[in-house]
């Protein structure tokens, strides 16, 4: 005959497991949201037609501007963006497919170097991709790693409408959204 009496420790274990599970899910979702990687697949991935414009396209176009001299970074995926993506993939050893998926995002991320000393806040865009330019000035892309998300600093001379020079745009999936964090 089963013991109908309750065992208090069973309840405590159950509560503990539940709390741990919720905490894990919350922290995992934050990690995905804030990370550079775990982004959408952008471009000619399996002939996708979505993700043709927005903050993520601006981010990868900014990297392409620094590495291959691609212009303009206007947040719209087009043939030039695809060819420049192929060039970056070819040079960095990726299988060239014109698709900015995880491995291409990761490759781009490694190129972004902290401007500010790790662990400190310098009050502005804090990561930079830098390559030599042809006329003395470097070619570069700047990014902000704010507490809410990654953002692309629209570098003057590289960006074009509808992107505004000097603004910081979130890595959004669709439209361009200026980076604002509710802390």
């Amino acid at each position: 005959m089963a013991d109908g009496g309750s065992k208090p420790w069973v309840h405590f274990v159950g509560i503990g497991v539940g709390v741990a599970l919720v905490a894990y899910l919350v922290s995992f979702s934050d990690e995905v949201r804030y990370a550079w990687t775990d982004r959408d697949r952008v471009g000619t991935c399996e002939n996708r037609t979505s993700d043709e414009q927005g903050g993520e396209v601006l981010a990868l176009q900014s990297i392409l501007a620094a590495t291959t001299g691609f212009t303009p970074a206007d947040s719209r995926w087009d043939k030039g963006t695809e060819t420049a993506t192929l060039a970056l993939q070819g040079w960095t050893g990726l299988d060239p497919n014109g698709c900015v998926e995880d491995s291409t995002w990761v490759t781009m991320r490694v190129l972004a170097v902290p401007i500010c000393a790790p662990g400190r806040d310098c009050g502005g865009p804090d990561h930079r991709v830098r390559f030599p330019g042809t006329e003395g000035d470097p070619r570069e892309a700047w990014f902000a790693h704010d507490e809410c998300d990654w953002g692309t600093y629209a570098f003057p001379g590289v960006v074009a409408s509808p992107v505004s020079s000097g603004a910081v745009y979130a890595f959004g999936e669709d439209d361009l959204v200026a980076l604002r964090c509710d802390r």
Binding site: A35, T37, L64, A66, T67, T68, G69, F70, T71, D78, K79, G80, T81, T83, A84, L86, A87, Q89, G90, W91, T92, G93, L94, D95, P96, D102, S103, W105, V106, T107, R109, V110, L111, V113, P114, I115, C116, A117, P118, G119, R120, D121, C122, G123, G124, P125, R128, R130, F131, P132, T134, P138, R139, E140, W142, Y153, F155, G166
Partner: protein, 231 residues
């Protein structure tokens, strides 16, 4: 009458103890072995001296002079461009705390494979075949950033095509080595910190139409090993 002196107590000399002789012999052998080993190591190292020249001279007269930096660089390094914190902040105008910015030393590399190969045309006119073959690429550099006074290194990166490991730099220093595993090519980062600051080395092992570009991972590690905090 002659006398034969068979024993003169005053001329008696005591022979050294055998243990002492053995000790002296062993000592001499040990010293000889040490000398032979040192000479052999030096002879083997003649082909590849630890430091051919002090590469830190490349930054003399700049804001990086006096900062910890590599004293060894690969033979392909031509020169170094230094970017000071104020200069970097002025690139975008509104960084508020320049005292927390790093100083960048960017080494350029010799060789046609490391030179910029970009068409002047807009990207939509580039040859797709050239792009896929790695024939369109920027100049390869080695970037060294020093953050004086910092004690941390940047967050560990994540991704399926990353290989992250620790590598020993000697003198109790350990660097995080981050490699992007793209068919044997891709960006390589080394990051470490010591009592004086935090450091980052970055370059790209590139795939080009004719082979590869950039330094080897071993060369980057050797650069990191040569960073001398006692300048």
């Amino acid at each position: 009458m002659t006398s034969v002196v068979t024993h003169n107590p005053r001329s008696h000399r005591r022979l050294p103890r055998p243990e002492l002789m053995i000790g002296i012999g062993v000592g001499l052998i040990v010293v000889l072995l040490v000398v032979v080993v040192i000479m052999s190591v030096q002879a083997l190292g003649d082909d590849e001296p630890v430091v051919r020249t002090d590469a830190s001279a490349l930054t003399d007269g700049t804001c990086a002079e006096g900062l910890a930096q590599p004293t060894w660089v690969p033979a392909a390094v031509l020169d170094a461009t230094v970017e000071c914190p104020d200069e970097i902040a002025s690139r975008i105008g509104y960084l508020s705390a320049t005292d927390r910015l790093g100083t960048w030393v960017v080494y350029s590399l010799d060789g046609v494979e490391n030179a910029e190969a970009l068409p002047g045309d807009p990207a939509d006119r580039w040859s797709r075949a050239d792009a896929e073959a790695g024939a369109i690429h920027p100049a390869t550099t080695i970037v060294f950033v020093v953050y004086p006074g910092a004690t941390e290194i940047s967050e560990k990166l994540r991704g399926q095509n990353l290989i992250i490991s620790d590598t020993d730099l000697g003198e109790g220093r350990t660097a995080r080595l981050t490699r992007v595993d793209n068919n044997g090519y891709g960006p390589v980062r080394l990051e470490w910190a010591d009592d004086d600051g935090s450091y980052l080395l970055l370059s790209v092992v590139g795939r080009t139409a004719d082979g590869r570009s950039g330094p080897t991972v071993e060369e980057l590690v050797r650069m990191a090993e040569s960073v001398n905090p006692e300048r």
